[in-house]
C-alpha cells in the first residue's frame, strides 16, 4: 500500500492483513555530493515502489525518512526513533528500513526494525528494460528476505 488516500482507505478496512511497514531512508546533501544523493534516492524509490507492487496487500510503504547528511548522527537516529514510537506496534509487527547509506549499518542495533542496506546502482545509464530487470533482481532477493521474516513470526 502506498501513502495515498485510496490505499489508506483500503488499509483501514483490512488492517489485520497489513503487518509490515517499509520506511525508505534518504540522506540529502548539497554541493559536490548532490548527484550521488539524488542517484541514491532514485534507486531506493524505484526499488521500494517495485517492492510495494509485489507485496501491496501486506506492506505499507511509508513516506521516506529524509535527513540532512551533514546533521549530527544522534539527531538523525533520534528522529527515526520518534517515527518508530509513533508507528502502531500492534498493527505493524515488522518494520523494515531500506537505505543505500552504509552509515546506518553502525546503528542497526539501536533500531527496532530490520535495516536493509543495498548498494546503490547507477541506474541513469541504463535503458528502461535494463532498469526494470536490474531492480527486479534486487527485489526478488528482498522478497525472500521478507517472506522469511514473516515465517519466523508465524
Amino acid at each position: 500500500m502506498k501513502w495515498v488516500s485510496k490505499d489508506i482507505e483500503i488499509y483501514l478496512t483490512a488492517k489485520e492483513y497489513v503487518d509490515t511497514a517499509v520506511i525508505p531512508l534518504y540522506s540529502v546533501s548539497f554541493g559536490n555530493e548532490m548527484k550521488q544523493s539524488a542517484s541514491n534516492a532514485e534507486f531506493i524509490t524505484l526499488l521500494t515502489n517495485y517492492l510495494e507492487r509485489q507485496f501491496t496487500g501486506r506492506l505499507m510503504l511509508v513516506p521516506p525518512y529524509t535527513y540532512l547528511k551533514s546533521d549530527q548522527y544522534e539527531d538523525i537516529i533520534n528522529g527515526l526513533k520518534k517515527w518508530e514510537e509513533n508507528i502502531d506496534k500492534e498493527q505493524f509487527k515488522h518494520i523494515f528500513y531500506i537505505t543505500s547509506e552504509i552509515d546506518w549499518k553502525n546503528f542497526e542495533d539501536e533500531l527496532k526494525g530490520s535495516l536493509i542496506w543495498l548498494p546503490s546502482l547507477p541506474l541513469e545509464h541504463l535503458n528502461e528494460s535494463q532498469r526494470i530487470s536490474m531492480v527486479e533482481s534486487q527485489v526478488k532477493q528482498l522478497q525472500s528476505l521478507f517472506t522469511q521474516k514473516w515465517h519466523e513470526n508465524l
Partner: protein, 169 residues
C-alpha cells in the same frame, strides 16, 4: 441561355435560404454535439497494448509477459509496466490473466509455492488460484483473477484492459 429566367425575387429568396441554412446549421451543430457528447467520446482504456510475446510462443504453461504503456496521473505522465500470465487452455484458447491478487492487490506468481506447483500463489496471505484463475476456497481471495481481453496483430499478442470475471468459485 436557360428557359427559366430567375427573377430577382427568386434569386434573393434562394440566397437568403442558403445563407440562413448555413447559419442555422452553424448554431445547431455545437448544440447537437453537446447533447450527444457521451456517444462521441472515444472510449478510454479501450486501446490494446502490444506485448513482446509472439502468439506462436504461447504454450500451455503460464508464462510471464511484461508490457509497458504510458499512464497519465493528473499532469504527471509515466511509463507503467504491467504483467500478465499468458497460456493456452485445453481448447487452444489464449488466456491472459492479471497477476493482481483479488484480496489486497499483491502480485501473484505461477507455481511460486512448492506445495502447489500447478496454481497461482500470492505470497502475502497465501491466497491461491487454479490455472484458470479461479480462487481456491478457504484462501483469502474472494474473486477470480481479472482477465485481459486479447487481440492478435502481426503475430504478436495485444492486451486490453483487465476486466473482472463475474464467475464465483
Amino acid at each position: 441561355m436557360s428557359k427559366h429566367r430567375v427573377s430577382r425575387r427568386q434569386f434573393l429568396s434562394y440566397t437568403l435560404t442558403g445563407v440562413g441554412g448555413f447559419m442555422a446549421a452553424g448554431m445547431l451543430m455545437p448544440m447537437v454535439r453537446f447533447a450527444i457528447d457521451p456517444v462521441l467520446k472515444a472510449e478510454a482504456g479501450g486501446d490494446f497494448i502490444a506485448t513482446p510475446l509472439k502468439i506462436k510462443d504461447i504454450t500451455t504453461e503460464p508464462q510471464r509477459v511484461d508490457f509497458t504503456f504510458e499512464q497519465k496521473d493528473a499532469w504527471y505522465t509515466s511509463d507503467v509496466t504491467n504483467t500478465a500470465w499468458v497460456y493456452k487452455d485445453e481448447q487452444d484458447n489464449i488466456v491472459a490473466l492479471s497477476p493482481v491478487c483479488k484480496h489486497l492487490g499483491c502480485t501473484v506468481g505461477w507455481a511460486s509455492s512448492e506445495d502447489h506447483p500447478d496454481q497461482f500463489f500470492c505470497p502475502c496471505h497465501f491466497g491461491r488460484y487454479t490455472k484458470d484463475g479461479t480462487n481456491v476456497k478457504g484462501t483469502p481471495p474472494l474473486a477470480p483473477l481479472d482477465v485481459y481481453p486479447i487481440q492478435e496483430k502481426d503475430g504478436l499478442l495485444y492486451l486490453g484492459k483487465a476486466e473482472p470475471r463475474t464467475k464465483e468459485a
